[in-house]
């Protein structure tokens, strides 16, 4: 939460500027576009004054010609302040500081992964330091193995402390620290091993040089300037973090965070950053193929399209299964192909109904759903049911910041500005909250919670209803036991004391009651005049988008199929075996003569296909998806694959091309026809410039102007330079030619500015550092709270959970690495995915004579699963946990009841 904005007039090198008086001098200079070097300061991590690189001269008044050396990041802007960046003393100090930093830096730029996008290189040049006077030995360190994501090269370290400040202070990590002292300080783990924090990948961007680098990039390293980049949206959960996808030689090389001041800001989670590797998998479907005599044989694109046209033409009975992983455009064209009545959201009804409930609340409610980054501004949090760190990781990171707001008030009372991170942390220390977590099992955010409550989903909902009742006694009364009553009173008081209370819930426990109790509670707070926020977590990247255009779910499709509804089913980017149990899915496929599957990777569903089309992942496709807050965002393909892979909607458009109802050809036209059918989605047209947008006459290049080797890279096949592919679907080119200035924010493929080659060139794309992008943060929110909507409280309240004798209710346990199907197939992520297991409460296990490591057999819809037992004291009695979406637990529908007597202790 920022202080009130007071304007101030400052003189920088004798030039007057009107600036925001609540900022420090470094931020101010950078926001003015001035170049002032820095290391330890980071717009999200703020000031600590360790590196001393941003020194300037500060003058007492106009008459003061001498000035005093001052560290800009620790100095508040004051009215009529006079400073100099250019003064020789300041220059000399900054160059000297770099010279000192370089005494132990190995100068190994040519072999360093950071070379060419290194903040240290940029800052060194900026200060003008050149010749070395240090002639002694450099200190050296041993590097550590830090797991599959991060490479460690400590000798390059310039000790800016950003890594530990991000990892420990910002992200709550426990296993990275600074050791030893003086010029021997060491940043690493207490011993070699996998970095455990879910946000470790940000070290790659936070580190100003090559100490922490992307290990997945290292496997197929490419310099930044040789990458083709595209603005994209992460598809690994529902939050819609903005990313930059990079490619060379047809393979995806890395993901970086793409700054969006409304959504992810500067950071990403490790699933989002490292989960891309499946795109380069050998299991990718590369060509259309047709099953003939039980084997798949490649067929040409035209033949595939022709065959599908024939199968689907006329009044054939069709069924289309959409996907929450696929874009709105692809889902829409499938709906057009099969007809609205035959189009199904490819998710189980148990999930679909919850998403519909969320959409209804988002659309018609009067509570604000804050954007991800705005979550940080709330000062009291109550989480109902959601294991946020695993279901929406970046939301957990935002909540960790929100938890410090209330304690931060004591710093504000001492007139410490928010940007002074070192000072704020000294005052705030470890205090957090108010922060309440009611979940079915222990979660990682418990460590910052004021109080936790572990119980069955129905009881979580009851607690929510109870708190709502404490706030508004017109609501249905909920009487819990004494402990619950006390907790409800405490939470109600905390929420009412806060200025901005935030309620978090989601679909992960398959409980409609939780969603409703969260809505009631938020509404009750809002009615008490509180600036209340309500965030729902939904399962997948386009869960909301899909459910906006589909109102039938898989259960219904399976039912229909049994009755021979269609002889052809078209399945879009969706492995149904992940969604539904194996037996019913097998039957579903037996019910269809033609199974047309559009997908990226071979999976159990493609095995059942009669025709397979190779489609693009988010890296090879354009499209629009809608995140959990209802924000529509566009993603763009980074390259055109050399094979037959293309956007699903492109395949569908080809199939539909002879159907005169749909003249749409390119992305913009498809969006137009989508809006015709769904006028409430109007906004998606304007979330990014259309394909005919030009800066002057120029397109926006996906490649930086230093891109090298393009005349040579395909010389093994052809020495003449072929015509670069055009892109009729976007205003970007696939080459280095084009507009060199600031592109519109939604189609900014990479960050670069003269003198700023690292990710920190982002400063130059922002209106003020850390603030929104020039041209606004990309994406459009489809729903805003309706102030006038009437108070619609939910009335039905569940009964408290009562355990069944000898039976356990199985709830899903989410794993950031594993519960998302595609990222889990990336080699790096795969190393972090747990083996399937079943989790039991200690008492339940004891009663059933089960101990840790025993093998338990559970039956789900006739299918037998054998799982080792893990004991967890945090689970409530009568509740068991099963990892969601792992190989071996995929397709299990939650919640389910099991008996605990089927133990095979062998």
């Amino acid at each position: 939460m920022s202080l009130e904005i007071i304007m101030a007039k400052v003189f920088i090198d004798n030039k007057a500027y009107e600036v925001d008086g609540s900022k420090n001098v470094l931020e101010t200079c950078l926001s003015l576009g001035l170049n002032l070097p820095y290391f330890c300061w980071h717009p999200a991590l703020r000031s600590v004054g360790a590196c001393r690189q941003c020194a300037i001269l500060k003058y007492k008044d106009e008459g003061d010609k001498k000035g005093r050396l001052t560290i800009a990041c620790l100095e508040s802007v004051t009215d009529n302040m006079r400073i100099s960046i250019e003064a020789p003393e300041a220059h000399q100090f900054r160059a000297g500081n770099i010279e000192a930093l370089m005494t132990n830096h190995p100068h190994d730029c040519p072999v360093c992964d950071e070379g060419g996008e290194c903040h240290l290189q940029d800052m060194t040049l900026m200060t003008g330091h050149n010749y070395r006077r240090y002639s002694f030995k450099k200190r050296t360190h041993t590097n550590q193995y830090l797991g599959p994501f991060i490479n460690h090269e400590m000798n390059r370290c310039i000790q800016c402390y950003r890594c530990v400040r991000f990892y420990k202070d910002y992200a709550g990590g426990k296993d990275l620290d600074v050791f030893a002292s003086h010029d021997d300080v060491y940043f690493g783990r207490h011993q070699e091993g996998v970095l455990e924090n879910e946000f470790s990948g940000n070290l790659v961007e936070v580190c100003p040089t090559g100490v922490f680098t992307d290990k997945t990039l290292k496997k197929h390293f490419t310099r930044k300037w040789d990458l083709t980049d595209a603005p994209s949206i992460c598809h690994q959960c529902a939050l819609g973090c903005n990313i930059i996808v990079s490619e060379r030689y047809g393979s995806i090389r890395r993901i970086l965070s793409r700054f969006n001041g409304d959504v992810n800001g500067y950071f990403l989670c490790d699933r989002g950053r490292f989960g891309y590797e499946y795109i380069n998998s050998g299991k990718r479907i590369q060509t259309p193929s047709k099953k003939q005599n039980g084997t798949f044989l490649p067929i040409s694109r035209d033949k595939a399209v022709q065959e599908i046209r024939e199968i689907t033409r006329g009044d054939k009975k069709l069924m289309g299964i959409g996907s929450p992983k696929a874009s709105l455009e692809s889902n829409f064209l499938l709906r057009q192909l099969v007809g609205a009545a035959n189009f199904y959201a490819g998710i189980p009804a148990a999930e679909g109904r919850l998403i519909q409930q969320v959409i209804a609340i988002l659309k018609d409610g009067k509570i604000k759903t804050p954007s991800l980054n705005a979550v940080k501004e709330y000062d009291a949090v109550f989480i109902l049911g959601e294991d946020v760190t695993n279901t929406a990781p970046m939301l957990a990171l935002a909540l960790r910041q929100a938890a410090k707001n209330k304690p931060g008030e004591s710093a504000r009372a001492m007139k410490i500005p928010d940007w002074n991170d070192a000072a704020v942390r000294e005052i705030v220390q470890e205090s957090t909250g108010p922060f309440y977590v009611a979940t079915a099992h222990a979660t990682k955010l418990d460590e910052i919670a004021t109080q936790t409550y572990r119980t069955h989903p129905d009881n979580i909902a009851l607690l929510g209803f109870a708190v709502a009742f404490k706030i508004n006694n017109q609501l249905p009364e909920v009487k819990g036991d004494e402990q619950t009553e006390m907790l409800a009173t405490t939470i109600a008081e905390a929420m009412l004391t806060a200025k901005k209370p935030l309620i978090i819930a989601g679909t992960s426990l398959y409980s409609e009651a939780i969603l409703q109790s969260a809505a009631n509670l938020a509404l009750a707070l809002k009615d008490m005049g509180k600036d209340t926020g309500l965030v729902y977590v939904v399962p997948e990247a386009n869960s909301i988008g899909l459910s906006l255009i589909a109102d039938q779910f898989l259960d219904r499709a399976f039912e229909k199929a049994e009755h021979g509804a269609a002889e052809t089913v078209v399945i879009l980017e969706n492995d149904l075996y992940q969604r539904m149990d194996k037996n019913s899915t097998d039957v579903f496929f037996q019910d269809h003569k033609n199974v047309i599957v559009l997908d990226y990777l071979h999976n159990s569903t493609t095995q059942k296909a009669t025709l397979i089309l190779p489609v693009g992942t988010f890296a090879e496709a354009d499209g629009t998806i809608i995140n959990n807050e209802g924000r529509a965002q566009r993603f763009y393909q980074v390259h055109i694959p050399a094979n037959e892979i293309s956007s699903s909607w492109k395949w569908l458009q080809r199939i539909l091309a002879d159907n005169s109802d749909l003249p749409a050809k390119h992305l913009d036209e498809i969006i137009d026809s989508l809006i015709e059918v769904f006028p409430e989605l109007q906004a998606i047209r304007s979330i990014a410039p259309s394909a005919d947008f030009r800066e002057g006459t120029q397109k926006i290049p996906r490649e930086p102007h230093r891109y090298s080797g393009r005349t040579a890279m395909h010389a093994d096949r052809n020495v003449s330079e072929s015509k670069p592919p055009g892109d009729p679907d976007s205003a970007m080119s696939f080459t280095m030619e084009g507009y060199a200035g600031l592109p519109p924010s939604a189609i900014t493929p990479f960050y670069w500015s003269p003198g700023w080659n690292s990710v920190q060139a982002i400063n130059k794309y922002q209106i003020e550092v850390g603030g929104p992008l020039h041209g606004g943060n990309p994406g459009k929110r489809l729903f805003e709270p309706l102030e006038n909507s009437k108070d619609d409280y939910f009335k039905s309240i569940p009964s408290p959970f009562s355990p069944k004798n000898g039976e356990c209710l199985v709830l899903p346990l989410y794993h950031i690495f594993g519960s998302e199907e595609l990222s889990a197939q990336s080699p790096g992520i795969k190393e972090r995915v747990p083996e399937p297991y079943i989790c039991l409460n200690n008492t339940d296990a004891l009663n059933a004579g089960i101990t840790e490591g025993n093998i338990l057999e559970i039956f789900f819809n006739g299918e037998k699963h054998q799982l080792p037992v893990r004991l967890n004291a945090g689970l409530p009695n009568g509740v068991a946990g099963l990892p969601k979406g792992l190989q071996g637990t995929a397709g299990i529908q939650f919640p389910l009841w099991i008996t605990l007597d089927r133990v095979n202790n062998g």
Partner: protein, 423 residues
């Protein structure tokens, strides 16, 4: 000449027990103080002119006066004695800790009462084993006698005290690094503001005072500000523990009126130079103060006068450099210490000090170049006050910059003769 701090300290390595301390009038000041309003105690200490004896010389009463008082202030407040004496050449607090621990504890309790602290700590240098025993014993006695605990000296003031033995870093002597260390964190200095008086240990208002400073407090309360003022030869009140080490006839530690001249300390109390040695220079207040030379012998050893002559009173423990000792070697030794003790937080200190130490090594080994003197001069500017996060590196530059000024010839001889002329 009155010696309130040391007059009862015996020379037999035993400490004054509570009974013995009480016989000297001990804990009477405490009984008096807890009957006064806390603000009045602070006022009396302020009026006495007592300045911090740790080296910075800030008014103790003023510091106490900055602690938020009243009902609606953050609590618990903390009161800490900085007994982490690690300044090279300093051994003054050790005498007080080992010889008269109750004097310190009484001062701490009075201070804690003045700011209404609930907890207090003695943060002790790890190597001071005898002091640790004395403090442990004295705290136990003070509890038993009711000077610590629920009703301090029969009042309704409650104070607990414990001893924390440091893990041993010079950095811990910096009061905010001390707080971090006490919290179990890295001993890095903290950002200021907020100052510890408003946000110190665990984010609560905290006073950190030096041992010698606090040992003065009972006497000020017992005998009054005027009496204290008159002990001194200047307008900065009190006595001071002065020490001398190096090749003097009688190295030692003496309690003398504040503001006595350097000459008196060296010639009268330390007995002059050993036979065959000439005085070349002194570090007047420990390793991190500027050299003074023979021309400064008549400087009054108080905070203002020493500052005027280009150095600092610091801890008041004089290190004597003689003519048969290499000044470059002496500075090199000091810079190695400071380079090793840098916490590694800010660039100039972390990188500049080891570089400085390596150049001095090279000079000593006969591998110096004239350009090295430029780099050394650069380092003294680079690590000037304000350029670094705390005072460690600027302090480390004080002996170097003054050595370059007074003993430049000796540096140049190392370069021209390709060896240390003293070896």
């Amino acid at each position: 000449m009155e010696k309130p701090l040391t007059e009862h300290i015996r020379n037999d390595h035993t400490w004054l027990t509570l009974k013995e301390y009480e016989k000297t009038g001990g804990y009477q000041a405490l009984r008096k103080a807890v009957k006064l309003p806390p603000e009045e105690v602070t006022k009396r200490v302020k009026d006495s002119g007592l300045k911090g004896r740790g080296g910075a010389g800030f008014s103790t009463g003023m510091k106490w006066g900055m602690v938020p008082m009243g009902k609606d202030v953050p609590t618990p407040k903390y009161f800490i004695a900085n007994a982490d004496e690690m300044e090279p050449g300093s051994f003054k607090d050790r005498l007080l800790l080992e010889g008269n621990p109750h004097q310190l504890i009484e001062g701490m309790i009075i201070g804690a009462y003045a700011i209404q602290a609930r907890f207090s700590f003695v943060f002790l240098r790890w190597a001071y084993h005898a002091a640790a025993k004395a403090i442990t014993g004295a705290i136990r006695e003070a509890y038993e006698a009711g000077y610590l605990g629920e009703n301090v000296g029969g009042s309704d003031f409650q104070l607990d005290m414990s001893l924390h033995i440091s893990q041993g870093r010079y950095m811990c002597g910096e009061e905010t690094a001390l707080l971090n260390a006490l919290e179990g964190k890295r001993a890095n200095p903290r950002a200021k503001p907020p100052f510890p008086v408003v946000s110190g240990l665990f984010g609560k208002p905290t006073i950190v005072n030096n041992v010698e400073t606090l040992s003065n407090v009972p006497h000020i309360i017992a005998k009054g500000a005027d009496w204290f003022m008159k002990l001194s030869k200047t307008d900065e009140g009190g006595t001071k523990l002065y020490g001398a080490s190096g090749r003097v006839k009688k190295p030692g530690l003496w309690e003398l009126p504040l503001g006595i001249s350097l000459r008196e300390i060296l010639e009268e109390h330390a007995g002059g130079m050993q036979d065959g040695y000439e005085l070349k220079g002194v570090l007047p207040g420990g390793g991190s103060t500027d050299f003074l030379t023979t021309e400064h012998l008549d400087v009054a050893m108080d905070y203002t006068s020493v500052a005027k002559s280009g150095s600092r009173l610091g801890t008041g423990t004089v290190i004597v450099l003689d003519d048969k000792t290499c000044p470059v070697g002496m500075v090199s030794n000091l810079e190695h210490f400071f380079a090793q003790e840098s916490c590694g937080w800010c660039t100039p200190c972390r990188e500049g000090l080891p570089w400085t130490a390596k150049i001095l090594d090279a000079l000593e080994a006969g591998n110096g170049k004239m350009e090295d003197l430029e780099v050394l001069t650069f380092q003294t500017h680079y690590m000037a006050p304000g350029n670094t996060f705390c005072a460690l590196a600027p302090g480390a530059m004080e002996p170097l910059q003054s050595a370059l000024k007074y003993f430049r010839e000796d540096f140049e001889r190392h370069i021209h003769e390709h060896k240390c002329p003293w070896k």
